[in-house]
Amino acid sequence: MKSGSQLEKILTAGHFAFTGELGPPRGANVEAIKKKAAPLKDMVDSVNITDNQTAVVRMSSWAASLFAIAEGLEPNFQMVCRDRNRLAMQGDILGAYAHGIRNMLCLSGDHQQFGDHPQSKGVFDIDSMQLITMVKDMRDEGKFLNGQEIDDPPKMFIGAAANPFAEPFDWRVYRLAKKVQAGADFIQTQCVFNMERMREWVKQANDMGLTEKVYILAGVTPMKSLGMARYMKSKVPGMDVPDYIIDRLKGVDKKEQANEGIKIACEQIEEFKEMKGVAGVHLMAIEWEHKVPEIAERAGVLPRPKV
């Protein structure tokens, strides 16, 4: 075992992983975390705790991760390159590990221009690829980025993101290969809506032997409404929402749209369970945590295996 996290155990045992997401509050409101955490308990193997997501200030991801642990969840501590330099990152990784955090997701981060402090200086001292290698070397070599030895190295199960849908398409599988080479143990993809493209990308990854080296968790986001689908299609960079998703939501009564969105998500999950090269699903039910039990139930991923 690299880290001994629940997520690592699930994946190495060959179970189909199911992870969730929790955005920390825009304040010190612990009750808000508890409220979001409660419906996730026993429904998911690990919960991504986002790091100033969309470049909006929130409670720090490591702190919210600790509250998640207290609520009986296993956090997947997200870290972006936008807000800290290599010193702060390594310091936070040590602290997070010392407090019992065992999974990490290494990201570049959304540009600060989109957030609530657009005048801020983006740090980007290292990029997500370099962050992955840094965390791996901290774990496997017991060394800081500068090559110096760590007294009790942090052992993280290392995650990275992949967007199979952004241009240039031909490059995406090579970028995945780079992340694997950098040291990623698992990948969580961008929200998948375009299943054809996803199948193609996973096939490429299979053909290159990448899926033998890394666990791919397909990102699934249930659409709450037609408005949300339209917004994601036109406003969110790197998001590929095909017309047939829009059409399906359009085809049902407004009151039924949320249900239809969950139905689409469940159909996707069913397909992913069978898809060679996909090791699990990462459910991003954005501000819809209370729906996770229903989605998990309908997707047939319950009960979660005990490992």
Partner: protein, 225 residues
Amino acid sequence: MIVAERKSFAEIKEMIEGYKKVLVVGCGTCVAVCLAGGEKEVGVLAAELKLSNKGSSDPAGFGEATVQRQCDMEFLDELKDIVGEYDALLSMACGAGIQFLAERYPEIPVFPAVNTTFIGVNKDVGWYEERCKACGSCVLGMTGGICPVTMCAKSLFNGPCGGTNHKSCEINKDQPCAWYMIYERLAKQGRLENILKISPPNDWRNTKPQTLIQPGYEERKAAAE
């Protein structure tokens, strides 16, 4: 070249408020080319200042001078006979020139009339684009001559990120994605293997004041000190 833009008239006016005699000092190099602080711009600013003084009971006086390069002591020396007549200097050079002017004449307050914006290129008259952040560790050989530090909004060394939006950067539809361009150029040149390798973290040399002595000039520097 170094590109700058003039500060707003109101801001300039406020900075020099209370000074009775102000010399507007232009620079004949980069800021002249990018139409921010050359001889012509000095004339325009001085005329505006004089005009705004009209009707004042106690008008200030404004002089004009443009040297070839404010980042060179030799040219700054040319001002030595006239600066004594002024109680403030308003420099239209880049930040380096402004500081060198202040260093040359430390008794006189110096104010910036421009904001220095970037190292860039001339796309057309009056149109400039940034190309270099002077990071001190050039990787253009690896990236097909497109700077990831400058042209990528996140200064990624292993792009493109997942935000690439139909060849544009996630920050703006009008900003091309640097890494998309790097990919395309390297693909055309048959050099994609360059970016298949992981680029290690950069050595950010531009985060502290730097001095450079070209080989062969060490003794000259030592003698000057």
